[in-house]
């Protein structure tokens, strides 16, 4: 683990266009585009997501950040008329055409949604282990162990330890979101997709989730969509900036180390956006 960490760190120091070896890249996107009934929603997404880093997707509303993110665990599969083109590689395997089932993909690429969505009919414990149960793991000793570990990793164990059998609906919004993070972590994913995970939370709950992300990246690669530019600047290592084009389709404007995106971007539109001149 430490070896990977130091490799990844050195890669960023050289700059994200640098010579990253294959095993430092968690996901690789090439010319990815998503369209609905032939209408392009987002296109031109080409970038590499480095392992054990936080990669943020920023841009104004309608720039296709969430649409792109949902392509990474094939959540568009069930939307009639949705089509994902280009190539998305997870550890070198094409997630749409390669030798990987959609259910396996989703256990390896977890997701946390915009609004906390714990299963309301399940207890806290049942929520955390639901992913394991969906995938056929029933042994209680394993479930117990994973539940505790995931809740600890999501910084929720202390506050819920004594009430694991209580309905998840009794938790506060911030706790519910950390429960959803624990639920995703229970499957030990390689990549965690987070779709504006703090937009429905108050500033204190937001801060706790942000702190969590920084510690979590030691064990999981994080890709986060955020509207909050300070958040992207605070927590992400790499940053993709998207913008709505003339034909109302989102497109990738630039991808680089977060520091460069905010301080010295190549494209003037990136600077205009991060300085708050529009969007």
């Amino acid at each position: 683990m430490e070896k990977i960490m130091s490799d990844a760190t050195s890669a960023v120091n050289v700059g994200s266009e640098s010579v990253k070896t294959q095993n430092q890249i968690a996901m690789s996107l090439k010319d990815v585009a998503v369209s609905f009934n032939g209408k392009v929603a987002v296109r031109d997404a080409t970038f590499d997501v480095t392992k054990n880093k936080v990669t943020s997707l920023i841009g104004p509303s309608g720039s296709g950040k969430t649409t792109l993110l949902r392509g990474l665990n094939r959540l568009h599969d069930l939307t009639p008329g949705a089509k994902v083109t280009g190539q998305i590689l997870l550890e070198g395997t094409d997630i749409y055409r390669g030798d990987i089932t959609v259910t396996e993909l989703r256990t390896r690429v977890g997701m946390v949604f915009q609004r906390p969505n714990p299963f309301p009919t399940m207890s806290i414990y049942d929520n955390v282990v639901s992913g394991l149960r969906f995938n056929g793991i029933k042994k209680k000793s394993i479930l117990d162990e994973v539940a505790e570990k995931s809740l600890r990793d999501a910084a929720l164990w202390e506050s819920v330890e004594s009430r694991l059998k209580v309905s998840a609906g009794n938790l506060s919004g911030g706790e519910q979101q950390r429960l959803c993070i624990a639920r995703a972590l229970a499957l030990d994913p390689e990549v965690l997709l987070m779709d504006e995970p703090t937009s429905a939370l108050d500033p204190i709950a937001t801060l706790r989730i942000e702190e969590l992300m920084v510690t979590l990246k030691e064990r999981v690669t994080i890709i986060i969509v955020t509207h909050n530019m300070q958040q992207a600047a605070r927590i992400s290592d790499d940053c993709a900036f998207l913008l709505m084009g003339e034909d109302r389709a989102g497109e990738l404007i630039e991808f680089d180390a977060t520091e460069k995106i905010f301080n010295n971007p190549k494209d003037s539109r990136t600077l205009d956006y991060t300085l708050g001149r529009f969007g």
Partner: protein, 309 residues
């Protein structure tokens, strides 16, 4: 700031602003007047609706409650004679028959109806669209049709005869579309974010339906089933043509049974005033059954709302 300035019309000068205020004031007065007239009309409509309902209920309670006694609930019907014109006995056979019919009909209709509803909600196929139209049409079809169907298929064609099973089949056909439609609505009302949460954990779609969607929709499904039972319990037409009636405490599926709506129908035609009076008691018991079921359904529904909030 500039955004807001563009959205709100800015009066050119003070006189324009005055004109806007004056017009708005006059408009407000007119709105209040219209509102008052509408409220009065609504009140009148409410009274007109309530009169027949309240009169019926009072009549039912006053005339019905005098019929209710131990004999009513524990004895079989008797035939009055000139010697004893008030020997009408009780309606135990009809109570037993109605309970048996309702239970058999529920056993037949609830599993099929609920599964159909889940299918209607989760499938986008042509078959689902067609089924939905059929279910909606069936839900509005007159109940005598179900009676005729049960009579033709079970009593005549399958030669099973006038039996509890024929009656509960007719009632089940009546309940099916009601259950399917209400299940479909409850399942559809489960937020997509929960489905996505399940799928994003690598669950197969059928597991998401079974472990996430149906449990979340359960209270709505139960409410729909209870309302369907409440409707079936009071239906007369389907049982009239199928159950055969009888004056014994019968509940077995392959025997003729009696039912509360049937004994209302029979007693109402009686030449004995004592039997005609008993109709009110039977009706009161029937309404009480339906009331309890509807109340339970409401409690279930409110539990659901509490949990979702």
């Amino acid at each position: 700031m500039t955004m807001i300035d563009e959205l709100v019309p800015q009066p050119e000068n003070a006189s324009t602003r005055d004109a806007i205020r004056r017009t708005a004031h006059a408009h407000r007065a007119r709105r209040v007047a219209i509102s008052r007239v509408m409220m009065i009309l609504c009140g009148i409509a409410l009274v007109l609706t309530s009169i027949p309902l309240v009169l019926l209920l009072i009549q039912l309670i006053v005339r019905g409650s005098s019929q209710l006694n131990a004999t009513f609930f524990t004895k079989l019907p008797q035939s009055p004679s000139l010697v004893d014109p008030n020997a009408i006995g009780g309606v135990l056979n009809s109570i037993i028959g109605t309970l048996a019919l309702t239970i058999y009909a529920s056993i037949m209709a609830i599993p099929v109806g609920v599964l159909t509803g889940v299918y209607l909600a989760e499938s986008r196929s042509k078959l689902a669209a067609t089924l939905r139209v059929i279910a909606q049409t069936m839900a509005g079809a007159p109940s005598i049709l179900m009676g005729l169907f049960g009579f033709t298929l079970i009593v005549k064609y399958l030669q099973i005869g006038f039996t509890a099973i024929a009656g509960s089949f007719a009632l089940a056909v009546l309940m099916l579309p009601v259950i399917a439609i209400s299940t479909e609505i409850s399942v559809r009302n489960v937020p997509d974010t929960l489905r996505e949460a399940g799928l994003a954990l690598g669950a197969k779609p059928h597991k998401v339906s079974l472990k996430v969607v149906i449990p979340s929709a359960l209270s709505g499904i139960v409410t729909g089933c209870l309302l369907a039972v409440a409707r079936a319990i009071g239906e007369t037409a389907p049982v009239l043509l199928t159950i055969g009636g009888g004056y014994l405490n019968e509940w077995r599926p392959l025997n003729p049974v009696s039912a509360l709506p049937l004994s209302i129908y029979m007693n109402a035609k009686s030449e004995w005033p004592s039997q005609r009076a008993q109709v009110w008691g039977i009706a009161l018991v029937l309404v009480a059954f339906v009331f309890v079921l509807s109340l339970t359904a409401r409690i279930w529904a409110s539990r659901k709302q509490k949990r979702n909030s």
